[in-house]
Amino acid sequence: MTVNADSTQRRKLATKPFAKADRIFFGVARAAAYSSFVIIALILIFLIGRAIPAFQTQGIIDFAFGSTWDASASPQKFQLGPMLWGSVLISLIGVVIAIPLSISIAYFIEFMAPKVLAKAVTTIVDLLAAIPSIVLGLWGAFVFSPIAAGWAKMLNQSFGWIPIFDNPEQNFLRSPFIAGIVVAVMIVPIIASITREIFSKMDRDIINAALALGGNRESTLRKVILPTASGGIVGGILLGLGRALGETVAVLYVLNISFDINWGQVLQARGGSVASMIISKFGEANPSEISALMAAGLVLFMFTLVINSIASYIVAKAQPWRK
């Protein structure tokens, strides 16, 4: 009996690495993986430590949702509301513009273009992702803004009766609309490359079946390709959203940052952006204002973290048929 028990006892089948090279490699890999946790934790601890004074004097709710920022008043008021909403507004504009563009690009690359052209377009779109945001900001400010202001004016003239396109001051520069387009340029590569990846992994037989059933290109895209790829595309959109929320320099150059909250009049020359506001105020801030800026960074960090977690969850889970 004891012999039996011994030989059937459960043992681990995975072994520790034997070779020295393996052990070193395992160690390095493990350290690299853990260090990302450590880095995030350290950043959080640092931010929280520096932000606590601001939260204590302002109160967390007022800080996040109030709408006055005045370092010279007494007592000082630091309230993030217009910036937080502004970040969301600009990101939404960016995403709304980027989604149809990205899906079209991905469709063209995967289903229309001959190989050589597909490669070329892929490379160009990836290059777009590599443009430093300061360059995009300068281009946005000096080249693109005047052009986009022209579009904004046309929008206002045709659709000014819709509240979001209202603009009594007729100043069309430095608006959330323009900042949104600049952000769209930055996130199109992200969404397009994820969408392309999903398209390329799709079962061609499903697409062939749609065609064989009398579908045309458009109905096949709408009824079969997009629904099948939707989980992955939504994930890509949320990743783009995360990037858009955190965008700093490019937005700073094309947006008039204002604490006079802009709820949605996207053509008017005032808007908000947490990240851009931080950078614009950091240079001349006194210690208590710096604490408030750190708190703003913390809020943005948490917000982006949540969006990104949702994104990776959706990308992983939303396509049960892709085992």
Binding site: I206, A212, G214, S230
Partner: protein, 259 residues
Amino acid sequence: MSSRTYQLSAENVNVWFGERHVLKDVNLAFPSNQVTALIGPSGCGKSTFIRTLNRMHELIPSAGFGGKVLLDGEDIYGDGVDPVKVRLKVGMVFQKPNPFPTMTIQENVLSGLKLSGRKNPNNEELVETSLRRASIWNEVKDRLNDPALSLSGGQQQRLCIARSLAMGPDVLLMDEPCSALDPGSTRRVEETILELAPQMTIVIVTHNMQQAQRVADQTAFFLSEDGNPGHVVEFGATEQVFEQPVDPRTNDYVNGHFG
């Protein structure tokens, strides 16, 4: 025999992929309400040929075509012929069951309507008749709103047949429809083919000699030798092709000597 009306026929069909000549001068006629089997070793161009019958090569930029495919007397490759219209008359079932993963069983049956923008007065009835004709109604009638992927592979394949039938095609093309199925499901699909045969023209590619003999009225043997383009070596009544083939290569193939 000359009085028979041929619903579908291929005349001097040639196919190229880039520089490669894959099919050469294929001439085949598919009489209405008969089953035609296409057999031959792997790579000889059976799939390539069957896909010319509903213009499925459209999506391959390098593909080239020569010859004619006549459907009711009209060349489906003629000027001004819309391939989408062709595919409404010529349905196709694929090797691997491929129901639309995001749709339910019922939605899959009706998917052709949605895709083509066609309207049908009574969807419920269409779902039932299509599923009945594909001999799967009894298995799924209580779960029409379940995801299509909850079915077994064999059921999925019959759902795909039902999906094609719902469009009311005159011709049904099947490219190795049973190669991913177990013997039981294979038998069910074969029964379905035999039930459909009196109502439509069926072309089926198969590697299974018994299957060809069980379901097909006529059989075409394709061969591509030494890198030459594939062509039809022998074409005739199934019994004759299997029992008294004219060409010795057909004899070798159907008796399992190569391929």
